[in-house]
């Protein structure tokens, strides 16, 4: 039986994102950055609720969505674990989200009058760094 | 529940200890100065008022501390029925209050009894009990005042003042006080429920509250109504008793000097004899004989009309009367040593009331303490069944002795000669019940007397008939009426009969309650009131009208049919006070 991985996340009330959303984002980010590895056991609903001082139902909801999105998987009687990575989104959806992300990015870059080529280079560097971290 | 009781006891224990110590200290102090068991009634009334006041304050404080909504919810929202919560909470404060009141009294009484030279009558133990009952009544009143809806709670408390108006004596007084306490406790129970603003939920609680409130409203209407009425009269300057009272009226008769009164009484006669009498009246000294005392001692009564004791100054002895063995007990004033008992041959018919001049009134006997031989002698003994109801007074060479049946005139020397004859010079049967007699004036004639009886009690602003009767008493002691005139009431018909038309039923109930257990009170004999038919009709119409208003209100408040009917019937029976109570209670549930 594996130990529960520590889940170093915080939530902020008063955020424009609901707490469910914040938990989901944080876990996703930790999985993406490798802070959580596949097979890591997540805190129990009660445990996380206590940790974050929130309603356990909220934790349940977050876990449920992450599970539905394929980030987590439930092992009967044992708890929730980080699932093996699969693509959960359709191609079209992925394309749309990329478009949104690019739009936001481009808007911000234009706003700071940054040269486009340097911006593209910076994005490339960021991706490289991400790869390095993961492989490390 | 027991924990709650204990907690409440603990809450007040220091208060109870402090109050009890203070109480004991004050009693001890007064015991040093005077005999606390032989004070006039007024002192006991004052002390009772203090006990009641202490109870009220405690009740207001305790219930007031719970009456705020959060405290109230904290107290009642628990797995206990409100009644049990009440028993625990009120039981705690009642226990502490009763201890603070009763323990010092008992210590005093026990102390008295043990000292030997003093005695404690059964009635004194009851007096202590009564003190406790009154304190607890105050407590319940305070609790009720704090918890009951302000709209009508105060009204319900008015009839709880019954012990102050009750004529009950001895055990009966204890019964009346207990009854009031129990009734008040039941009313508190009915108000002791989560929703304080609502009328009682149970039918019995509601009915009890409504009836009591109706009685309160009745008393308020009768007393306050009269006050308002008279104040209005005075402010508008049309009060019948402003300035010169109306001629031929009751007030004129009660205020007139004796001569004018007797002359007015004779005004109806124009014969020579009456003219001579009138001349004599103008010249004579008028002797105003006090007709009745307010109270006479009754055996076993809790308090005293006056201290039941007198001093033999020559021998330095204080004689105090014991109701238990109906004898005087002597104590030497200098050192408090017991000096035995004092009796009169034939015993006392009733507890003797010491009056001026070393005389005593006891039932039908006038007795006197003779400082020479240190004995009590009987000066006058009336025929069996008659009671002396007033302080004997001198009228020239005669001693006027009022009994409940007759005015008797004795040679004034009857007081001095203990062995002398006590045959009266004249016996004048009273022309009406003694309780209605307001004043009695007489003059001496050459042989005999001319006596004026003015029957006007309750006839000034009350409903009683008032009249004046002149009686001629001959030298041989026979008497016959010689003139009579009716005194016209000074107050309007409407106000005089207000207690009746407002609610005949409540009038009767009030009288019954106040007279219950009164014992033999000869002064209570009154001329029966004649209630005119119009008053009955007015009372009926008012009741019907009130019932109609109740019906209207009940419809507006969407009261259930049976509840509406019950309220209407009650209003029909009790009249406007019930309407008043209904309007204040505003029942909103189909009960």
């Amino acid at each position: 039986m594996s130990r529960t991985a520590p889940l170093a996340i915080t939530i902020a009330t008063g955020d424009s994102r609901p707490i469910v959303r914040q938990i989901i984002d944080a876990i996703r980010r930790q999985i993406s950055t490798g802070d959580l590895s596949v097979g890591d056991k997540l805190p129990s609903v009660r445990g996380l609720a206590q940790q974050l001082a929130i309603n356990p139902n909220t934790v349940s909801k977050s876990y449920a969505q992450l599970t539905a999105e394929g980030w987590l998987e439930s092992r009967a009687g044992l708890g929730l674990f980080v699932a093996a990575r699969r693509d959960q989104l359709s191609a079209a959806e992925r394309e749309r989200r990329l478009g949104e992300a690019v739009d936001r990015f481009v808007g911000e870059v234009i706003a700071i009058r940054y040269p486009a080529d340097e911006a593209v280079a910076a994005v490339a560097d960021a991706f490289d760094a991400l790869t390095l971290v993961r492989s490390a | 529940m027991f924990e709650l009781y204990k907690a409440e006891c603990r809450r007040f224990r220091w208060w109870a200890l402090g109050a009890g110590a203070l109480h004991a200290g004050i009693l001890l102090f007064f015991d040093r100065m005077v005999d606390p068991l032989q004070q006039p009634a007024m002192i006991y009334e004052l002390v009772a008022a203090i006990y009641a006041g202490a109870g009220v304050l405690l009740g207001l404080f305790q219930a007031g501390s719970y009456a705020r909504i959060n405290q109230w919810m904290a107290l009642l929202h628990r797995p206990l029925s409100p009644r049990r919560v009440l028993i625990a909470v009120a039981g705690g404060s009642a226990t502490m209050l009763a201890a603070a009141v009763l323990v010092p009294i008992l210590l005093l009484l026990i102390g008295h009894g043990l000292i030997g030279s003093r005695f404690v009558d059964a009635r004194h133990w009851l007096l202590g009990l009564s003190g406790m009952l009154i304190a607890l009544t105050g407590l319940m009143g305070g609790i009720y005042a704090a918890l009951s809806p302000r709209r009508y709670g105060w009204l319900v408390l008015i009839p709880a003042l019954l012990p102050t108006a009750s004529m009950a004596v001895g055990w009966a007084a204890i019964v009346v006080q207990t009854g009031v306490l129990v009734a008040l406790a039941l009313l508190v129970t009915s108000a002791f429920k989560p929703d304080l603003a609502e009328p009682p939920r149970t039918i019995t609680g509601l009915a009890g509250t409504a009836l009591t409130a109706a009685m309160g409203a009745y008393l308020l209407l009768v007393v306050a109504g009269d006050l308002v009425f008279q104040t209005l009269w005075i402010t508008t300057g049309t009060h019948p008793l402003n300035g010169v009272p109306p001629r031929g009226g009751v007030t004129e008769a009660t205020r007139a000097d004796g001569a004018a009164l007797i002359e007015a009484g004779l005004a109806g006669r124009q014969d020579n004899r009456a003219r001579l009498w009138r001349e004599q009246v103008r010249l004579s000294e008028i002797f105003e004989v006090p007709p009745t005392m307010k109270w006479l001692p009754v055996r076993g009564e809790l308090t005293n009309v006056a201290p039941m004791e007198f001093d033999d100054e020559r021998r330095g002895t204080r004689w105090t009367f014991s109701h238990d063995d109906m004898r005087f007990h002597g104590v030497r004033l200098s050192d408090g040593a017991a000096l035995g008992t004092l009796d009169v041959p034939g015993g006392f018919d009733a507890p003797p009331l010491p009056i001026e001049g070393g005389h005593l009134i006891a039932g039908g006997s006038l007795l006197g303490f003779d400082a020479d031989d240190g004995m009590i002698h009987r000066s006058i003994r009336l025929p069996a069944g008659e009671t002396i109801v007033a302080r004997p007074s001198t009228a020239g060479t005669a001693l006027a002795v009022m009994s409940d049946r007759a005015l008797r005139l004795y040679d004034v020397r009857v007081l001095d000669e203990s062995a002398g004859s006590d045959a009266p010079l004249a016996t004048v049967p009273l022309p009406g019940p003694v309780g209605s007699l307001m004043r009695l004036d007489l003059i001496e004639l050459l042989d005999g007397y001319l006596v004026s009886f003015t029957y006007a009690r309750d006839g000034v602003d009350g409903p009683a008939d008032a009249w004046q009767q002149i009686v001629h008493v001959t030298g041989a002691g026979t008497s016959r009426p010689v003139a009579r005139r009716t005194l016209t009431p000074d107050f309007p018909f409407v106000t005089r009969f207000a207690p009746y038309w407002i609610s005949p039923a409540l009038k009767v109930a009030r009288d019954l309650a106040e007279h219950a257990g009164s014992g033999p009170v000869p002064m209570a004999q009154r001329t029966p009131v004649k209630i005119p038919l119009s008053i009955w009709i007015a009372a009926g119409l008012l009741a019907a009208l009130s019932a109609a208003v109740v019906a209207l209100l009940a419809r507006r408040w969407r009261l259930g049919l049976r509840a509406s009917a019950a309220w209407m019937l009650a209003t029909l029976a009790l009249g406007p006070p019930m309407l008043f109570a209904f309007w204040l209670i505003r029942p909103n549930r189909t009960a």
């Binding site: 009330t13 008063g14 955020d15 424009s16 994102r17 609901p18 707490i19 469910v20 009660r46 609720a49 206590q50 974050l52 001082a53 929130i54 309603n55 356990p56 139902n57 909220t58 | 924990e3 709650l4 907690a7 603990r10 809450r11 909504i69 959060n70 405290q71 109230w72 919810m73 904290a74 009642l76 929202h77 628990r78 797995p79 206990l80 029925s81 989560p194 929703d195 304080l196 603003a197 609502e198 909103n588």
Partner: protein, 301 residues
């Protein structure tokens, strides 16, 4: 017995001419934490008092755990815990005495563990008198007592009011601990949206005695959106904008807070001359604030 913890039908309570509760229909299911928010005077306390039978409704019906609230029996009360904002406890009694009384009263269902868990985070001595406790200590003790009685229904009327951050955090922990019990329904009333956001399963918004919202907090939040539009001229008249909660003009830019904005709202604004239109979600506290203040700040309807 219905499956609802609380049910009111057409519940009305008047204080004179003022309606504290106005035809309130509310059905709170068993289980979960139901937060009730509303401005002062929205009728929350009135509702609780009626629920516990300490106030009679002027109209309508109320059921608590399936029982008319006016007819709650001592046994019903045993299953209902209630904590008010003052944490009313007899100030003259000691902690031990109050605890002993509570244990005896609820002997058949006393949950020592729940009590101990909560009380563990407060440093109380049994000999202390209630009157000597700090407000936070008293609140903790009170909540511990309420949880110790293992109620089916726990009604909390602003339990954290006036508490400092530390005490509030402890209390919330205790509540989370206690609320997770099976089949327990918690009704929670607070002005602290943060707490509501953390705790509530259901957000009940009361306004002037009426029910304005009954949903999960996130659902509520999603109903409210903020729009920033650059409209050179006066902008559309407010009465032409159904669902407008708030409108402010800052530096010539119009900020609209919209409830249930229609899909074509951006076009609507452009149609009224907006040169740019942007929309964004709002945090819960602002959403509630906007919702509750619409009738104060907004133009007269």
């Amino acid at each position: 017995m219905s499956g609802l913890a609380i049910e009111t039908r057409g519940l009305t309570r008047r204080h004179g001419r003022k309606h504290a509760l106005d035809n309130l229909d509310l059905a709170l299911p068993r289980g979960g934490i139901h937060a009730i928010v509303g401005a002062n005077g929205a009728g929350k306390s009135t509702l609780f008092r009626i629920l516990l039978g300490f106030l009679s409704p002027s109209g309508g019906e109320v059921f608590v755990l399936g029982r008319p609230s006016a007819a709650l029996t001592p046994d019903d009360r045993r299953r209902i815990g209630f904590v008010n904002e003052e944490h009313t406890l007899p100030g003259w009694a000691t902690v031990a005495a109050v605890l002993a009384m509570q244990r005896r009263l609820y002997a058949d269902r006393w949950d020592a563990r729940a009590f101990d868990t909560v009380i563990a985070s407060f440093d109380l001595s049994p000999a202390q008198r209630i009157g000597q406790l700090s407000r936070g200590e008293r609140a903790g003790f009170n909540l511990a007592l309420a949880l110790g009685q293992a109620p089916e229904l726990l009604i909390l009327d602003e339990p954290t009011l006036g508490l400092d951050v530390v005490a509030r955090r402890r209390l919330l922990d205790a509540l989370i601990e206690g609320a997770s019990a099976e089949d327990r329904t918690v009704i929670y009333c607070s002005h602290q949206i943060e707490e509501v956001e953390r705790l509530a399963d259901t957000l009940v918004v009361l306004e002037r005695g009426s029910l304005r919202n009954f949903s999960a907090p996130d659902d509520f939040r999603e109903r409210i959106t903020q729009w920033v539009a650059n409209v050179p001229f006066k902008g559309p008249p407010p009465d032409a904008m159904p669902g407008l909660l708030q409108h402010r003009k800052i530096d010539g830019v119009h900020h609209y807070m919209m409830l249930d904005a229609e899909p074509g709202f951006a076009d609507f604004l452009r149609g009224h001359g907006a040169t740019s239109v942007q929309t964004m979600p709002v945090p819960l506290d602002r959403a509630v604030d906007a919702f509750l203040t619409r009738n104060h700040a907004g133009p007269a309807a």
